[in-house]
Each structure stands twice: as C-alpha cells, then as structure tokens.
C-alpha cells in the first residue's frame, strides 16, 4: 500500500530479483528437500507425490478460473491427454527411443498445449456460462472417445508402462519412490515458478483485465478472445506437465483421468483453497489431499462431508481458505490480531462439538440404513454402542442442538471483536 514510487532514475538500480520475492521460493525448495527425511514411510511419499501433482494441476486450473475468469468443467482433458502421451513415450523409450525421464514432462506439457490450442480456438470466444458449457461438452466428448480410440487410450483398461527403462540420470533409474519424489518436487517447483512468473508478465496481467471487464480491455486494443486463448494454452501446457508427473508416478492412465469427476474435483480443490490468490490452489491441494486420505480411512461417507464443505465454502467464504487467511492481514497490520485469540478460543469448543455431533448424526443414520442385517454394533469416536437404539441418536442430536445454541449466542461477541480488530483506534488493551 505504501510502496514508494520508483522514479525513472532509481528504477534501474534495484536488483533483478528482490530478495523478499525470492525468499518464499527458497523456503519452499528447502522444505521440499527436507520433507522425505521427516516423513520417510512409503505411503507418506505416495501422498506427497499425489499432493505435488494436484498442486500443479490446481495451479494450472486457477490460471483459467482465478486469473482468466474462465470456469472450466473439462480441465482433466489436458492433464489426461498429456499423461496418455507420456505413457506412450515411456513405451517407446522401452522400445529404444532415447529420452531421459526428467525431460518427459516437457513433452506432456507440449501435448497439452497442442490440444488447448485446438480446442481453445473455438471455446474461448466467450467466458462465463458459454465457456463452461463448451468445456463440459468437450470434456465429455474426449472422455467418451477413450473407449472408441483404443489405440491411443487403451480402451477400458487404459495404458500402462515402465518408467525405469530410460537412460540413467546421475546414477538414478527412478525405480525407488524417493527418486520419483525428488523428480516430482523439482517439476513442482519449476511449474509453480513458471506459472507465478507468467501471471506477472504483461499477457498475464491483461488476462486479469479481460476477466474483470472484457469490454474495456477491448477498447484498450486487446482482443478478449486472443487473451483468453493464450491463457488457455498456457494452462493446458502446465496441466500437461501435471499429467506427465501422474504418468511417471502411477505408470497407468485410464478413462478416469479424463472424465467429469476428475475435472469437477479440481474445481473443488481450487475453490476450497481460494481462487483469488496464487497460493490458494496450493493450500487447497494440500488440505484436500490430506482430508481425502484421512477421512476416507475413518468414514465411508467422506465424499458427503466434502460436498457439504464445498457448498458451505461457496455460500459463506467465496474467497476460500486463502481468502480466510488474507482477511486476517488487516488485524495483523493494525497490531490487533491478539484481540481475536480469546473470542476464537471461546467459539472453538461449541464449533468443534457441533461438527463432531452433526457428523455423528449422519454416521448413525448411515449405519442404520446400510449396515449388514443384524449388525447393530457401531463404533464412533472410540465408543461402541447399538446404532439402532434411540438413545445414541437422541444424545448426539441434543449435543448438536446445545452447541448450535452456544454458537448463536457467541456469534455477536465474535462479530464485535472482529469489527474492533479490523478498525483503527478504539480500545487497546
């Protein structure tokens, strides 16, 4: 807000890359390097790889939704096509083609870019609803083609390959999970940095202008269609990279990588994280992957919880998690973040009680309807009880009602504390 205006005289003297801009990236690189030493189990590595792929995919999705104002229901197409192409490349490498594995994502990206060029030529004419519908139609078309064009998509069983057949790089053949992790992490950094820098280029900025007001951008001499097409191709490129990383990690691609479910879940990830900020999709991908892994261990109806969370986010926090965090920058700058600690702590207990008891209501109802015949015993939060009895249901309903009542009672206090923390002056103490 208060950055001093650079005069033409001082403009040339600043460093090419200011240190405070490079710092987050250096920290991220160090973290990525250390992580396998902290979480060294095989499943942890798999989850981290999954996270990295989702981050690249979500960031590329946000180039459309957040930065370009294009809502896509078919983004999995570009990731999937890039991945399928890389799978074929891997098979050709096995047959004798010389291609080191670390270079594979470049080709995945180029393949994604090529299809984004083709499809973008007619789909980027308009943004908004029309673009969304076309992306949905194209997505369904490509997903349906996967069972028809067997030679490329491999039909229902998909295509698979072996990543270790290429030439070794620095003595690594990329068989062990750890080596794959470092390769994925390296490409995560490259792709994320590339997308960040893209958003800072003039074409990235014009994409924002077209998103905010396409008519004005046209009056300034920019064709809204070309600007969108450029964003769309760049996004397709990075989605293709994500696809290549998927191919390297899982060594198999199927119709599932192209269909509406995958496209929809990346929208969910990106929106949960927050579309307004560059870090939003990163937060979204990390939280979503963790939630999915942890929740699916404990409950069968995890997708229902995710759906509720998503709809609640759209209704009440359209800025997503990143937006929620960004709301606290102002109290922080005003030095009043401390004023929020006590109201937050007060709210935490009933909120937690409400979430847990509401989930318990759902779990009990689900158990009642779907457990095997005669299976009345149910275990929840370490307590074993009879799910068909009335008592447990009444108990959790009562807890939910009481905690909801407490939340409603505490809400005005929290609101007052928030108003105080976001305004200058007032009582300090």
């Amino acid at each position: 807000m208060s950055t001093p205006a650079t005069t033409p005289l001082t403009a040339g003297t600043r460093r090419l890359i200011p240190l405070n801009h490079a710092l987050p990236w250096i920290i991220a690189a160090v973290c990525l390097f250390i992580l396998p030493y902290v979480f060294d189990s095989r499943s942890a590595l798999t989850i981290m790889n999954q996270m990295a792929i989702t981050i690249v995919f979500a960031l590329s999705y946000n180039m459309l939704l957040g930065q370009g104002g294009m809502l896509s229901f078919g983004h999995a197409v570009y990731m999937g096509l890039g991945g399928f192409f890389c799978m074929h490349l891997l098979n050709w490498v096995e047959a004798g083609l010389w291609l080191p594995l670390p270079l594979l994502p470049v080709f995945g990206g180029l393949f994604g870019l090529f299809f984004a060029f083709l499809i973008g030529s007619f789909s980027t004419r308009r943004a908004g609803t029309v673009f969304a519908m076309i992306s949905l139609g194209v997505g369904e078309l490509v997903a349906a083609c996967s069972v028809i064009i067997v030679i490329f998509f491999g039909g229902e069983e998909g295509i698979s390959g072996d990543r270790t057949m290429g030439p070794e790089v620095l003595g690594w053949d990329f068989g062990p999970q750890e080596q794959v992790y470092y390769l994925t992490a390296l490409w995560l950094l490259i792709a994320a940095l590339g997308m960040f820098l893209y958003s800072r280029t003039p074409i990235g900025r014009v994409a924002n202008a077209v998103r905010d007001n396409e008519e004005r951008a046209e009056f300034l001499g920019y064709s809204q269609r070309h600007v969108r097409w450029m964003s769309f191709m760049a996004s397709g490129f990075f989605a293709g990279i994500a696809g290549a990383l998927f191919a390297i990690n899982f060594e198999i691609l199927t119709e599932e990588n192209l269909n509406l479910t995958t496209s929809g879940s990346i929208l969910l990830v990106t929106f949960l994280g927050g579309v307004g900020f560059f870090v939003g999709p990163i937060i979204g991908a990390i939280v979503f992957t963790l939630l999915q892994t942890v929740l699916s261990l404990y409950t069968e109806i995890w997708a229902l919880y995710l759906g509720i969370l998503f709809v609640a986010t759209v209704m009440f926090f359209p800025g997503g998690l990143a937006g929620l965090l960004a709301m606290h920058v102002l109290p922080w700058k005003l030095g009043k973040i401390g004023h929020l600690v006590v109201p937050y702590a007060k709210m935490l207990i009933p909120a937690l009680a409400f979430v847990l008891s509401a989930a318990a209501v759902l779990e009990i109802l689900f158990h009642k309807r779907h457990a095997g015949l005669g299976d009345h015993e149910m275990n929840l939060y370490g307590i074993t009880f009879d799910s068909h009895g009335a008592m447990p249901l009444i108990t959790v309903l009562a807890i939910a009602a009481v905690s909801l009542f407490a939340i409603v009672k505490l809400a005005p206090g929290l609101k007052a504390a928030w108003d105080d923390a976001t305004h200058m002056g007032g009582h300090h103490g």
């Binding site: 007619f122 308009r126 969304a132 076309i134 078309l141 929208l267 229902l304 209704m315 689900f366």
Partner: protein, 318 residues
C-alpha cells in the same frame, strides 16, 4: 420401414423427456442468467422420491407428490442458497449449483445406497399399446409421450395466455420495470425456479422406471441436457424443443442401425489390413454407428459452436 416408425416413436420419447428438463432449465436461465448445473439432480430426486412413495402407495400418488416435493426443495434452495450467492456473480452461482449437484448425488447415495432401485412402471400400463409389424410399443412409453406433451401445452398456455405468464415474460426482459409496477420479482424468480425443478422432478418420476433409478442417472442425463440447450441456443425455448427432439432421434437411430465403418471403407475400395489388431488404423476399421452414438450429441455441439456460435435458434452470443 416399420422399424423406422418404431425408432421415430422411441426417439420422440427420449426427445420429449429431454425437453421436460431443457424447458425448465431454459426458463431459469433466461430469467436469472444462471445455468442450473443441478437441474438433472432434481430429475434424479424426482425418481427417488417417487420410488420411495411407490413403496407405500403405488405409482400414481408419486406422480403427483414427488414433483411437488422436488419443486418445494428447489424453491427453498433458490431462496436460501442461490439468492445468497447471486451477489458474487454468475460464475460463483454456477459453481454453487455444481456443488449442489455433487451434494445431491452424495445425499441420494447416503439414503438409498449405490445400487439401482427397483422402481417399476405401474401394472396398469404394463401392456403393449400397439404393434407395428411385429415390434410392440409399450403403453408406458405412450403414457410418457402424453405426459410430456400435456406438460408442454400447459406451459405454453400459462406463459402466453395467463396473467401470471405475462408477468413472468415481462420479468424475463425488464425485471426492474416489473418490480416498479408492484410485482414481487424475487418471488417470481423463486416460483419459476420451483416450477422448473418440479418439471425436472416430473421427468424423473416418469423416466425412472424406463432409464433406471440409480445415483449416476443425474450426471448421465445432465451433460446431455446442457449440450442440448447449447445446441438449441441458450435461452431459446423453441431451440430447446428442436434440439431435444433432434438429439432424441440421433441417439435412437444411432443405437439401432448398425452401420459399420468396415463396410463403408470396403465399398470405397480399401482393403482391410490383416490381422486387424496389428494395424494402426484398427480403431477406424472396427468403428460402428452404435459405438459412436453416445458421442454424437457432443460432436454436434462442437460443430454447431464452430459454425454458428449462438446455437441453432439463439439470437445472440450470450
């Protein structure tokens, strides 16, 4: 020839069913500017509600009660969900309805499970209505045609001949002016959303026994519905009707006539490579019309968008 007539009738059933969804969706779209992604989910809710009711009291009560229940749910969602999101703009609205579609599918699985439900057509309609050269035409399908046609005529009458319809049409074009004339426009919006979703629910009630009542039914039909209204032209009711029928017939004919690529290529003078499984052109040679039937609507959409971006009957590129 007789097979042709049977296909015409079958395609008419599919097309009219599509139109029951498309008409509601188009009305909602032209009124609020929001494409209701969850529209097919209300169709699914209709089928499931009617199934649940049919367990207690048979088919006919469900035919009346289920669409009303779906319409009430739709109106409540408009009032307490969509209206809240409206202030953020059209894209968040679309994302909201997308989330709603996911949530409804999960909720249906929560209550009824993942497997298909045994929702059956009523016994009173379980007979062959007529025969065309050995092909029987079930009475239930005839019933579906009558319901869809009846609904269309009622809708047309209400929209063009009644005072309520006039208000709705006026509110479509000039919401502020209508508001200033003393009409409760938000109420009209809620009503249209409720009626639109109820129509989708009715489509679900009558389609459930034929197309199957399972959690995937919404997404299966949903994407076809969107393709249809894009082809017809967003916001055009006549476009929706023509496109629905067109897609109904395309799908039915593609599924029945087994045109094989092999025969076409051979008659053009190409020789089939042997063995076919080693050829790079294997997919082209083994292609059949029923196989590509499901993707024809999407292909048609892409072609229409390239040649005529506003859709067949759309007046402008919205």
């Amino acid at each position: 020839m007789s097979l042709f007539i049977v296909n015409i009738l079958d395609g008419l059933v599919t097309g009219l069913l599509l139109f029951m969804l498309c008409s509601g969706l188009t009305l909602i779209f032209s009124m609020m500017g929001v494409l209701n992604f969850a529209h097919a989910s209300f169709y699914m809710l209709g089928a499931y509600f009617a199934y649940q009711i049919s367990l207690f009291s048979g088919f006919w009560l469900g035919l009346i009660v289920a669409p009303i229940a779906v319409g009430v749910i739709g109106a409540l969602i408009e009032r307490y969900g969509l209206r809240r999101v409206h202030k953020y703009g059209h894209v968040p609205e679309l994302i909201f309805t997308f989330g709603l579609a996911l949530l409804i599918e999960e909720a249906v699985q929560f209550f009824w499970g993942k497997s298909q439900q045994a929702y059956e057509a009523p016994e009173a309609l379980d007979f062959a209505a007529f025969q065309i050269a050995g092909n029987t035409f079930p009475a239930y399908k005839l019933f579906m045609i009558f319901v869809a046609m009846g609904l269309f005529l009622v809708l047309l009458y209400i929209l063009t001949k009644t005072r309520v319809g006039m208000t709705i049409q006026a509110a479509l074009s000039y919401p502020e002016t209508v508001q200033n004339l003393g009409h409760n426009v938000p109420m009209v919006f809620m009503g249209v959303f409720g009626v639109g979703t109820a129509m989708a629910g009715l489509a679900g009630v009558i389609a459930g026994p034929v197309l199957g009542t399972f959690p995937g039914m919404a997404f299966l039909l949903g994407s076809i519905v969107f393709v249809t209204i894009v082809i017809g032209g967003l916001g055009s009711l006549w476009g929706a009707l023509i496109a629905s029928l067109l897609i109904g017939w395309i799908q039915t004919f593609a599924a029945t006539y087994n045109v094989r690529m092999e025969d076409i290529l051979t008659s053009l003078g190409f020789t089939k490579p042997e063995p076919i499984w080693d050829s790079a052109w294997q997919d082209l040679w083994t292609l059949t019309l029923p196989q590509i039937g499901p993707i024809l609507p999407y292909l048609l959409m892409v072609i229409v968008l390239v040649v005529r971006p506003q859709g067949l009957f759309g007046k402008r590129e919205t």
